[in-house]
């Protein structure tokens, strides 16, 4: 298995995948840095980071996952190397598993990068202009306790006190949730990308999925929609967090296994 993964990494040399992996997080961070630096002050760190993570979870993660899955598959579709790869004395599923692991690894790295670059952008905005400095709400926790109405809608339905006191842990945890709940959409995108030689099919699926996600938020069935699961784990509707995490993670693993079985049986013409 390690050899299979190593081989996939060799193929990434000089490919555009690394560029996508850097550009996605950088764009999210750049957007929120610009907002903050231009005076649209988000005031506190947790608000700023959650806003950035929402952009990551609803838009940039699904989009870059689509592109990465498509490029990983096109590495073989393009030069027609599937036949060679699948005629080697290596279990067929391993070929697909190695690509899935690379995709998951890249997206994990991108998640961390998004968090790091967002933080850097927030700090930079404050460094450039002290008026835009973001505040750490923790020192004000005691004060907030006396002032904040627990039913205040400013944070949606997020637990406000938790956000004030332990925002670092909450942000890190939710960044991980976003990632884990994206497994299902990643598995679906990989499957489509492997199955179809025409890259427009997985791209259309990803863009279409992301598009519907915007509207599915309002739907009662939105919680079952793979492209919405990362967003749902952010907790704007707390009752959906665990469901989205479970469906996304467990569903993703299940879908991945189905994909390995299906792809191993695929007729290579």
């Amino acid at each position: 298995m390690l050899a299979s993964i190593r081989v996939e990494l060799i193929k990434l040399k000089r490919s555009k995948i690394m560029l996508v992996a850097l550009a996605g997080p950088a764009l999210v961070a750049l957007l929120f840095f610009s907002l903050q630096a231009s005076g649209a002050n988000l005031r506190a760190w947790p608000l700023y980071l959650f806003a950035g993570m929402t952009a990551w979870a609803t838009f940039m993660l699904p989009l870059t996952a689509t592109i990465i899955a498509t490029l990983l598959a096109q590495l073989e579709h393009g030069p027609k190397t599937w036949a060679h790869l699948l005629a080697l004395p290596v279990p067929k599923w391993r070929v697909f598993a190695a690509k899935a692991i690379v995709a998951l690894g890249l997206i994990a790295a991108m998640s961390l990068l998004t968090g790091a670059l967002l933080a850097f952008g927030g700090w930079l905005a404050g460094a450039l202009n002290p008026e835009n400095k973001l505040l750490d709400p923790a020192p004000f926790a005691a004060l907030a306790e006396t002032m904040v109405d627990p039913d205040d809608q400013a944070f949606g339905d997020l637990d406000v006190m938790l956000m004030v006191k332990e925002w670092r842990r909450v942000v890190a945890e939710r960044l991980a949730y976003v990632y884990l709940s994206s497994f299902l959409l990643i598995a679906v995108q990989l499957w489509a990308a492997f199955r179809f030689r025409n890259f427009l099919i997985p791209m259309a699926l990803g863009v279409g999925g992301g598009f519907f996600a915007i509207f599915a938020q309002a739907s009662a069935y939105g919680v079952y929609f793979p492209w919405l699961m990362p967003f749902n784990t952010l907790g704007f509707m707390p009752e959906n967090v665990e469901k989205a995490l479970a469906y996304g993670l467990v569903g993703g693993i299940g879908m991945g296994l189905l994909m390995f079985v299906d792809m191993s049986r695929m007729q290579i013409k």
């Binding site: 050899a3 299979s4 190593r6 081989v7 060799i10 193929k11 040399k13 000089r14 490919s15 590495l75 393009g78 030069p79 027609k80 190397t81 036949a83 060679h84 790869l85 699948l86 005629a87 080697l88 004395p89 290596v90 279990p91 049986r265 007729q267 290579i268 013409k269």
Partner: protein
Amino acid sequence: MFSVITGGEQPEDNEKEARGARFMLREGRGPMTIAIETEGLKKRFRGVNAVDGVDLSVPQGAIFGFLGPNGAGKTTTIRLLLGLLTPNRGRIALFGEDLRRNRIAALKSVGVAFETPAHYEHLTGRENLDITRRLLKLDKSEIDRVLATVELSHVADRHVRKYSLGMRHRLGLARALLGNPKLLIFDEPTNGLDPVGIREMRDFIKTLPDRTGATVFVSSHHLAEIEQMASHVAVIHLGKIVFQGAMDELRGLHAPRLEVGCSDEAQATALLGGGARKVESRNGRLIVELPTAEGAKARAASINRRLNDAGIDVHHLALAPWTLEELFLQLVGANPHLGQK
């Protein structure tokens, strides 16, 4: 053994049982001498029987030519042999290992070069080989060995994008040779090469069994090409094997012919056409059929002499090669049912 397939269709079930029994028997034997064995292999694509009951038996150490025109089913058969396609019917064993039951063990002894060489364009030749080498868990030195074998060492660190088609074919060959597999499968290895490239490839393939002890299974739609390198041959037509045997048996099938260009065709035809000998005029040349391959040279000389003695000038005299089309006419003509699907 000469084996133009006869039309007698056995009842399907008996046939299957008989095949099964033979298969089991062979599996149980000691040293395996059959590199590729297929039994009743069938593959259908949307109503087209691309491969239609193919029984192959490729002896170890042979250069086995797999001959057939475009669309005959060569590539489909090869993809079945590699487990890339699942047959609708039939079984495959490579060195006695059943492909369906034990794909990995069966494929361990196989190196393959496909019809159109496919490589990662953005990587160098060396990096491309390294990928396969790692998957096969071979020593790093293998790369330099196969690069030297196909004379590609000088461009090993260049991107494949910049390779010529000939280099790509050679890189495909190098990749197939990694780990010195016992069986090499080449699908039209001369596809798109220039005459020099074709000759180099052919000469290279010819040396392989002696050099590496490998069995070579090579497909082509060129009768002449296969004649020049193969020790054994199977001819496939519309998914069916119409001939299988040693190369010499195939040669024996088609009598040699002499192509004669002369000053007076009518007189020459009258002179040479006596008895059972077939003489016909084609494109301003006479095609004279000779009875056997033995003594063909002496016969050619004697025909030349007879024409000269009769005052006919001879300006062209050559043994005419048979084309695949003509061979088919002969093989299929004798069994008209083979022409139907």
